[in-house]
Amino acid sequence: MAGGQKRIGKELAEVTKDPPEGITVSLVSEADIYNWDIQLEGPEDSPYAGGTFKLLLALPTDYPFKPPTLNFKTKVYHPNVSNDDKGSMCLGMLRSEEWKPSSKISGVLRTARNLLIEPNPDDAVETQIAEQYKSSRKDFDKIARDWTKKYAKA
């Protein structure tokens, strides 16, 4: 089987035609349907408002049986995004135990954006940021806003 190409093509067409709110999708290169450029607008009622975040969505060759991976290319201050050069986002539905082959990329993108509105500090990759989010929300918001200003505006 050609690595789920028919399925990927269909999803790409759907997401391009009718994208989830605040999200724009394109291929990194026309010749490669496994790597997607994602532009994500920071949701209004979050400290990420006003920023535009670049992400890379990579589909494994055995997609949709294995989940895609999602990485922030733009630095972001968030308990569920690793604060390193990978910027990997940890989403429950992207874990192999939870991923179902009928799950859709549009669902992944929507969940990712919702996570900016409502971080999940109990399932954090950055435990110190999660601590701060829980104990001093004001400080967290401030740094998240500062980083948005510094890195996500261009």
């Binding site: 049986f65 135990e97 510094k150």
Partner: protein, 519 residues
């Protein structure tokens, strides 16, 4: 010593009670009875063990446990299946599936089945319609949601939930779950949001033939995985499991070290390598602390701040609070982080503020440095013993060589040189214990008991060093040192047991005061 005896006899009399009840009531009934007495799911010993089979504990730091092999595990499963079949009046194959579905909790299965038999059968994939065996179908106009294929004549399959996918996708999904993820008993329907478990009839039909064996092995594994009182030995390729009655909620009172037939010693609570006297929760905290070395990070954060304008890191090295960012040239006040330009007239205010918060900051810095030094004190000693533990194999190999040399040099027999092997093993065991005493001490509050603990620790450490130096001696001297070495070995063992017993007893009585919560 009274309380110690009480504790142990308390444990063994429970065991006796189980056996007595089992004899007088007959199987099945006694489990029900126990269930009523102790509000617990699966407290009963699963294997018909006589007291002589269980390693009975004599010291407060020891727990009762039993090592069981693959055949015994299979036999125990079969016994459960047969008992359930007898009570429910269902075929054994059906009961095996039902038991797996109920995480091998026989009582809950029986209870639920007595209440609502149809519901139970249906949930586990035996709904009324499945009386006709499940089979693949061709459905006109079908589009597979997974691969998006829609060609006519496409074979499809659906369980009772009605979520239909093409047979190829179904197969690939199940293959991946079994082969890559090692799941078998609780694979869910491929549909997002559907938690229906793929029943074994569907699995038999959809799983490629070459995977059936693997799938059966995985099904057997669930039995141990599902039981709180059973754990697989974590040693690589070891097929044994250990049965132990210690519950998760007891882990703040007991550190349950067990040893497998393969000789691997591990903690029944967390399955890490043996870590007495430190309770599992402190082990977890300590390992995490060592991993992210967060203390060092705190120290750095007490000495550096981020420029409020551009965010680059600035280290304060002089006494002046008038800071200028090297990168963006922003001028600000170190104390209040406000722009320096605002400080012209209100300087006095900030100065007063500085005195207070400045000394606070200095205190914080001092505290931070102190706590770093404290951490390093314990960490260095912990790491030192860990290092020695890693040299386990080296030392053992060296010892073996010495034993051979000693035999040829002194004409001693193989039995007569065993004291070296014994000494080397005790030494390693003591080092493992010592290593963990440093993590334990790190979390201890400074009070009288802590001093007693550290005295015990010091005694053991001295005993270990005294034994350890014997291994440096040339082989020619060893035969003359035999008695001395045996004595030192025995002394090490004695100090280790004293330390572990004392610590375990205090832990059980909840008298240790830690600087963190045990959770």
């Amino acid at each position: 010593m009274d309380s110690e005896d009480e504790f142990i006899s308390g444990m063994s009399s429970d065991q006796e009670m189980d056996d007595d009840l089992e004899d007088s009531l007959g199987e099945g009934e006694w489990e029900y009875l126990l269930l009523c007495y102790f509000d617990d799911d699966d407290d009963q010993g699963l294997f018909d063990t006589q007291d002589k089979d269980i390693k009975s504990s004599h010291k407060p730091h020891e727990v009762d446990f039993k090592v069981i092999g693959p055949r015994e595990i299979q036999a125990a499963q079969d016994k459960h299946i047969e008992e359930a079949a007898l009570i429910l009046g269902l075929p054994t194959e059906t009961c095996a599936i039902l038991l797996r579905y109920f995480h091998w909790n026989k009582d809950r299965l029986i209870e639920s089945y007595m209440d609502r038999p149809e519901q139970v059968l249906e949930n586990a994939g035996f709904g009324p319609s499945s009386k006709s065996p499940p089979k693949a179908q061709v459905v006109p106009g079908f589009v597979c949601e997974i691969c998006c294929e829609d060609e006519p004549g496409l074979e499809t399959y659906a369980m009772k939930c009605g979520h239909r996918f093409c047979v190829d996708c179904y197969r690939q999904y199940l293959t991946q779950k079994i082969k890559d993820e090692g799941e078998a008993a609780r694979i869910q329907c491929p549909k997002e949001g559907c938690s229906r478990i793929v029943d074994s009839k569907s699995l038999d039909l959809m799983v490629p033939g070459d995977l059936h064996e693997r799938y059966q092995v995985l099904l057997t594994r669930t039995y141990v995985d599902d039981k709180e009182n059973l754990k697989w030995c974590p040693a690589p390729n070891c097929e044994y499991a250990v049965e132990c009655g210690i519950k998760k909620r007891q882990l703040n009172q007991i550190v349950p070290s067990v040893q497998c037939t393969c000789s691997h010693s591990f903690c029944f609570g967390c399955t890490l390598n043996e870590h007495q006297p430190t309770p599992c929760s402190l082990v977890k905290k300590w390992l995490k602390k060592c991993e992210d070395d967060s203390e060092t990070a705190n120290w750095i954060s007490a000495n550096t701040k981020e420029c409020p304008e551009c965010g680059s890191t600035i280290e304060k090295n002089g006494g002046c609070n008038h800071m200028t960012c090297r990168k963006c040239k922003h001028e600000f006040c170190w104390i209040c982080m406000g722009p320096w330009s605002e400080h012209g007239t209100s300087w006095y205010n900030c100065n007063r503020f500085e005195e207070k918060s400045g000394s606070e900051a200095r205190d914080a810095q001092a505290r931070s440095r102190q706590s770093l030094e404290r951490y390093l004190h314990y960490y260095n000693r912990y790491a030192n013993h860990e290092q020695s533990a890693k040299l386990d194999k080296d030392l053992y190999l060296k010892t073996e060589k010495k034993m051979t040399n000693l035999q040829t040099m002194s004409g001693m027999s193989w039995i007569e040189v065993q004291f070296l092997d014994q000494a080397s093993q005790i030494l390693q065991q003591c080092r493992q214990t010592l290593k963990w005493t440093y993590a334990f001490a790190f979390y201890l509050q400074r009070e009288n008991l802590a001093h007693i603990f550290e005295d015990n620790q010091k005694d053991l450490e001295m005993a270990v060093e005294n034994l350890s130096e014997m291994f440096e001696k040339p082989t020619s001297e060893l035969s003359g040192l035999k008695v001395d070495m045996i004595n030192r070995t025995a002394y090490c063992q004695k100090r280790r047991i004293i330390l572990l017993s004392d610590t375990a007893e205090n832990l059980r009585n909840g008298v240790w005061k830690f600087t963190v919560d045990l959770d």
